[in-house]
């Protein structure tokens, strides 16, 4: 090959609170006990993964005015469980989704700087935005943002947090027991930020952490989101895990980097991806069909149809035909706290298309939801899956994947045991960790080096 092989980055997404997760499987364990998180993290570290990923949602989802009860409900506090996982792993990166709307920069910067110290430089922050008053009802700051302001707040939030991270340079703590000088500079951590969303000043109280700043992830897909990623993020948690879409997204985002003075290798594209393995491709396909049926029960199918119809469809038979009535186009949506419903921008057209497809294929409501919903991204024997993943990465559809198993916490084990060794044999995935920090794993420079500063000796280990 003329071009050297790209090294693949792999991460593990703890199964989430949506119907991807098959909680009804006899092997499915707790979603809240720490032992599940520890098992999952240890598997990821055993497989030499780059990092573990946690999502977040700050209000329980509702549909039809009631708490949605068909998926996993309940999860731990992101920061707290990541700090605990730092105690049971040595190398694995720890990525947390933290909202920039319902937090303040000083507090979040303290938490990430602390997590980075406590993990020896393994923290990462998936910066997400939110604007809904529904979630805001859980917060004293209440309030919410006009949708158009969410990225301006997120950008300023991140910029402010970076000012706080950078307010210590790493050489302030002398701790000279003989002379009695602890701090070299009384102004350590001093900052002033004046902006549209934040007007704060004072002194930050967490010294420079091993990575300087946490690795920054961005997950939004809009044009604004892509610009935000191109200007500010180290990695994108993307949704495009098919070859063609992935390549288009990859090229689009990487092409935006130059205008911010950044190189293509300074932003990693890491789509979320599900997988089903079998001894043979045929066995895996059969298993994948079964998993999809379990992911979409009759009750779940009706609820998912309601995302489009925006009406109570509980009187319909999930094994029967689609509703004749049209979607309700009212502003108030039947589903709250779920980003997915915004994908259906023209419910009448979607309903019409789905009715046609169901009629043509003789599909019931449940069949339709199974067929139009997300298919698993990688289905096949370990050989097939390893080859496909490698092909995607070498073809610039991504720089790796954030894998989402459908079983908690053991769903990653088989991937670690069967697929990772094949990728290692092909020379495209590490056999040992080469560095200590998440930046090392991801091939990202320390922020001091990026800025061309003299890299000073850092205090923390």
């Amino acid at each position: 090959m003329s071009k050297p092989l790209k090294q693949i980055h792999l991460a593990a997404h703890f199964p989430g609170v949506n119907n991807t997760t098959v909680w009804s499987d006899p092997k499915a364990g707790s979603h809240i006990e720490f032992s599940s998180f520890a098992h999952f993290a240890r598997t990821a570290e055993r497989a030499k993964f780059d990092f573990l990923f946690l999502a977040e949602g700050l209000r329980l989802r509702e549909q039809g005015g009631k708490i949605y009860d068909l998926d996993v409900v309940g999860r731990p506090d992101t920061f707290t469980v990541l700090a605990a996982l730092a105690a049971v792993t040595e190398h694995l990166g720890l990525t947390g989704t933290i909202n920039s709307t319902f937090n303040e920069p000083y507090e979040v910067a303290r938490q990430f700087a602390s997590l980075d110290h406590l993990s020896g430089g393994r923290s990462a922050w998936n910066v997400v935005t939110s604007w809904d008053a529904f979630t805001g009802e859980n917060f004293r700051r209440g309030g919410f943002l006009p949708q158009e302001e969410r990225y301006s707040r997120a950008k300023e939030f991140l910029a402010t947090a970076n000012e706080l991270f950078d307010s210590w340079h790493g050489d302030e703590i002398l701790a000279d027991q003989v002379t009695g000088t602890f701090l070299r500079d009384a102004k350590a951590g001093a900052f002033v930020h004046t902006g549209q969303h934040f007007d704060i000043q004072g002194q930050f109280n967490v010294p420079r952490s091993p990575q300087g700043r946490p690795v920054i992830f961005q997950a939004g897909d809009s044009d604004e989101g892509r610009e935000f990623a191109a200007s500010d993020a180290d990695a994108i948690f993307s949704r495009y895990a098919t070859l063609k879409e992935g390549q288009a997204f990859y090229a689009d985002v990487k092409n935006r980097l130059a205008k911010y003075g950044r190189r293509p290798d300074q932003l990693l594209i890491l789509p979320a991806a599900t997988f089903v393995l079998g001894d043979t491709d045929a066995e895996a396909e059969e298993r994948a069909r079964e998993v999809r049926r379990r992911q979409v029960s009759g009750a779940t199918a009706l609820k998912h149809l309601e995302f489009v119809w925006n009406r109570d469809l509980s009187s319909y038979d999930p094994d029967g035909p689609l509703p004749d009535i049209d979607p309700d186009l009212a502003d108030h949506h039947i589903s709250r706290g779920r980003a997915q419903v915004r994908m259906y921008r023209d419910p009448l057209a979607t309903a019409r298309e789905w009715r046609e497809r169901a009629a043509a294929n003789n599909w019931s409501i449940r069949d339709l939801v199974i067929e139009t919903g997300n298919r698993q991204n990688f289905v096949g024997s370990p050989e097939t899956v390893a080859r496909t993943i490698n092909d995607f990465v070498q073809a610039d559809a991504s720089d790796g994947f954030i894998l989402v198993p459908h079983i908690t916490p053991g769903g990653l084990d088989v991937f670690a045991d069967k697929v990772v060794p094949l990728l290692q044999e092909q020379g495209v995935f590490r056999t040992e960790y080469e560095g200590r920090t998440l930046r090392d794993h991801l091939g990202l420079a320390h922020p001091d080096d990026v800025r061309g500063d003299v890299r000073s000796e850092r205090v923390a280990s």
Binding site: R59, G65, I67, T80, A83, R110, N138, G189, Q201, A460
Partner: protein, 415 residues
């Protein structure tokens, strides 16, 4: 909780930097360059657990430490900078088995929703050993770190501003506690027949509306292993005593002798009765700074040496004890007879005085039959003799709350 003089007492240690004396970091035994590494804290908590202590607390703050009451001091000769206490406690949790972990949270600028799920999660990662110490801040410079409110200047501890901040703290704890109860213990049903993961009738909106904020609920985190993790607060005056009486499981107080201890306990009990909590267990712990050596002269010399390094004698809100483990045991038992059920000791130098507690004081108390010889429970509530509380929203206590319904008769605290 009146205690006979010979009944066991409870012991906690307050961890902060290299110790509570501002020159503690200059002692050879101190490790001031390790303060931001997990290993340093893991070693300290392991030592505390070796001594069978009930729990450790972790100090915290939303600004640099200061020797001044209300503003930064600009000093460079003392430890400055600290890690987030909740994350620190969580980092230590998987490395320990029995000891309780009680981080400090400043309630004035933080979100009760976030802290409720953080402490619930600390309870999960420690399998039932989490607590919380709530603290207010009236420092204008810390308010400026958030830029969301200004705190009017105060001149005395009983200023109306401070009273307001403590009232807000009581609301905050009420929200934290309601959120812990917002899931009934058996809410997760995983009913394959109906496809329901939870019984949503066992999740509850808390619908808290107070003077300072409103919070809807339910929590995103299921009810923690202890049901209600242990809530604690330090108190020096009537207003914070009232917070302790209304909302805490443990109050830390700072009597300088048995007479003061008796008076403080009486005041807290009266406030407890006024709050309608007379029947609920509430520990009152004495806070003491300790310099411990086997030779009392050595302890005094050490204190004087540190004072000389610091440039001025160390003063504290708490009584400063200097002496031998045996003398300290005498004092603790005397204060215990005045109504305190335990103590939170603040080691002057952690590297010296923490092992002096675990290897000197603890064996002395054990010889007197005044301290445990093995951990007798798996949870912090268990160590403290606190039962796992019933859920305020469970049908036995109140009518079940339908989503969208109105709040039920829980202990409403309105300011």
């Amino acid at each position: 909780m009146s205690s006979a003089p010979s009944s066991p007492l409870h012991l906690a240690v307050a961890l902060d930097g290299t110790g509570w004396h501002p020159a503690s970091w200059r002692e050879p035994v101190a490790r001031p360059r390790d303060l931001f590494a997990a290993g340093y804290w893991a070693d300290l908590v392991a030592e505390a657990e070796r001594g069978l202590l009930d729990f450790v607390t972790f100090e915290d703050g939303l600004g640099l430490q200061s020797s001044h009451f209300l503003e930064p001091d600009g000093r460079t000769d003392q430890v400055r900078g600290r890690l987030d206490a909740v994350l620190l406690a969580a980092r230590i949790a998987p490395l320990t088995r029995h000891i309780g972990l009680v981080p400090t949270t400043v309630v004035t600028h933080t979100e009760p929703f976030h802290i409720s799920k953080a402490i619930a999660t600390l309870d999960y990662v420690s399998t039932g050993r989490a607590g919380l110490r709530v603290q207010i801040t009236a420092r204008p410079n810390e308010a400026a770190h958030f830029g969301r409110r200004t705190i009017p200047p105060i001149d005395t501890y009983d200023s109306p501003v401070v009273t307001g901040l403590f009232d807000e703290a009581a609301d905050y704890v009420e929200v934290v506690r309601r959120l812990w109860d917002s899931w009934e213990d058996d809410a997760e049903i995983r009913d394959a027949a109906t496809g329901r993961f939870i019984d949503r009738d066992k999740l509850h909106y808390i619908d808290f509306e107070g003077r300072h904020f409103s919070v809807k609920g339910p929590s995103i985190t299921p009810r923690p292993p202890q049901g209600q993790p242990v809530v604690t607060a330090l108190a020096h005056q009537t207003v914070p005593y009232r917070l302790v009486a209304r909302q805490a499981d443990i109050g830390y107080v700072t009597p300088h002798d048995a007479g003061q201890a008796r008076a403080i306990v009486a005041e807290i009990r009266a406030e407890q009765e006024a709050a309608g909590r007379a029947d609920e267990p509430l520990h009152v712990f004495g806070d003491l700074v300790v310099f411990l050596d086997d030779d009392p002269a050595a302890a005094t010399a050490r204190r004087e040496r540190l004072n000389a390094l610091a440039g001025s004698p160390y003063t504290s809100d708490a009584r400063i004890f200097t002496g031998t483990p045996s003398q300290l045991a005498d004092l603790l038992q005397e204060l215990q007879s005045a109504g305190l059920s335990g103590f939170r000791l603040r080691p002057a130098v952690l590297g010296h005085d923490l092992p002096a507690i675990t290897r000197g004081l603890v064996p002395e108390l054990q010889r007197r039959g005044a301290f445990r010889r093995a951990y007798e429970a798996d949870t912090l509530r268990g160590l403290l003799g606190l039962a796992r509380p019933a859920n305020r929203y469970s049908p036995k206590l109140s009518a079940s709350l339908e989503p969208g319904g109105t709040p039920t008769a829980s202990t409403a605290v309105t300011a």
